[in-house]
Amino acid sequence: MVNITVEDKNGTRQDLELPTDMGLSLMEVLKASEYNILATCGGMALCATCHVEVLEGADKLPELNDPEYDMLDTLPDATPDSRLACQLRISDEMEGMVVRLMAEED
């Protein structure tokens, strides 16, 4: 299990304890936790509607792949620590990570 903190659009933070052995992506976990994210394309890094900004722990995450980079490039409000939640697999490296939801709401 790994513990992360999610900050919603209103600035409200919630701690989540997540399993690392189920192959889940951060997008899937956020949806399952009833956050209103669209995740239109279902996790193919094709729509950028699961955009998050990693406030703490960004340096421990795997590097961006090309499709993720491409999609983030289409977002006017992307920052250097922006990621697509669908491309981040829940792993032990995420311990203590803080992410802020950036995507338009469902």
Partner: protein
């Protein structure tokens, strides 16, 4: 006024297959879609991705699947209004409907089927405060419909994808001046296009502003100037007749929310008996609907289309009795 039996809103895979199921029951269909081509998400977002869970089609490319559906529904001669967004669905006293698009197209039908997927794809807008004040012909536009309107104008484009690169190359020939603003130092669009854009900047044909973004726009009535901030947040003011932000498309439920249908979390509530909505004669199928156990799968949408057609028949042919026939027995009777 176009007249048809069923007006289908959304020409994605489920909307297209609904034409087939309706056609088997001798009902004609007109399809409307906000995108300029049929296929919905499959054609717009992932045409080259394989889909593995279409029954009988192992690993079919999304665009090939759309093409297959078009071939399948050809016998039923569907008609289309593409690149138009439905604004209103009006129910008449006799129970029939008039569907009106943003281009003023009107479709009269006995049944309306909403197969709208995630809603209509609309341009993603940058976070600039007074952007809306300059939309609708006042300088800010999200697509290039008629390049001639930019002749001898000062244009600012924003974005880093293929469409930003392509339009930069194209419009540079026409415009008086063209400035491309991009958040990054490099472009992830097609390398050939990126190289061409860098060459044009070196030759002084365009003004390339990298690691920057647009923070403010202004003007009296129409757009006159655009403030661009670099990565040190230093602002420069640029003269502009047009600003064209090109940041891709994102789906929006849009006007569907205002048609008096029961909506839950951006999806239309339906009765799983026939995928009817709370308004008699309006059905919702595919990703746009919701019911207990809903799965957003193309194959589920196909099933929903088949059941919808059975009920839609009662609205189109109220005097006739419906007898169920297999295509293996009856074949496909083209119109």
């Amino acid at each position: 006024m176009k007249e048809t039996d069923i007006c289908i809103i959304g020409a994605g895979p489920v909307g297209l297959f609904a034409v087939f199921e309706a056609g088997l029951l001798k009902m004609r269909c007109h399809l409307i879609d906000a995108l300029p081509q049929v296929g919905g998400q499959l054609s717009e977002i992932y045409p080259q991705k394989p889909i593995y869970d279409i029954p009988g089609s192992p690993g079919v490319l999304a665009q090939d699947h759309v093409n297959n559906l078009l071939t399948q529904i050809e016998p039923f001669s569907p008609t289309y209004s593409l690149g138009e967004r439905v604004e209103a669905v009006e129910k008449l006293e006799d129970g029939s409907f008039i569907t009106t698009t943003n281009e003023g197209t009107k479709v009269a039908s006995k049944v309306v089927v909403i197969a709208g997927g995630l809603g209509s794809f609309e341009p993603r807008k940058p976070a600039i405060q007074n952007l809306e004040d300059f939309e609708n012909g006042k300088g800010v536009t999200y697509m290039v419909k008629d390049p001639e309107m930019f002749r001898d104008k000062d244009i600012i484009l924003a974005g880093g994808g293929d469409s930003a690169l392509d339009w930069t190359i194209h419009l540079a020939e026409i415009a008086k001046s063209l400035t491309l603003v991009h958040r990054n130092e490099t472009f992830r669009g097609a390398p050939d296009s990126a190289e061409q854009v860098f060459n044009m900047a070196n030759e002084g044909k365009i003004n390339l502003v990298l690691k920057s973004n647009i923070v403010k726009i202004g003007g009296n009535a129409t757009l006159e100037e655009v403030n661009i901030a670099d990565h040190n947040k230093e602002e420069t003011v640029h003269k502009a007749d047009y600003l064209i932000p090109l940041f891709g498309l994102s789906p929006k439920l849009g006007p569907i929310a205002n048609w008096g249908l029961n909506v839950d979390k951006n999806a239309i509530q339906v009765d799983t008996f026939d995928y009817s909505t709370n308004v008699p004669g309006i059905f919702a199928i595919g990703d746009i609907n919701t019911y207990p156990g809903k799965l957003k799968l193309i194959l589920c949408g196909f099933h929903e289309a088949a059941l919808m057609a059975q009920s839609a028949f009662k609205y189109v042919y109220p005097e006739q009795k419906l007898s169920f026939k297999y295509t293996t027995v009856n074949g496909v009777q083209a119109f």
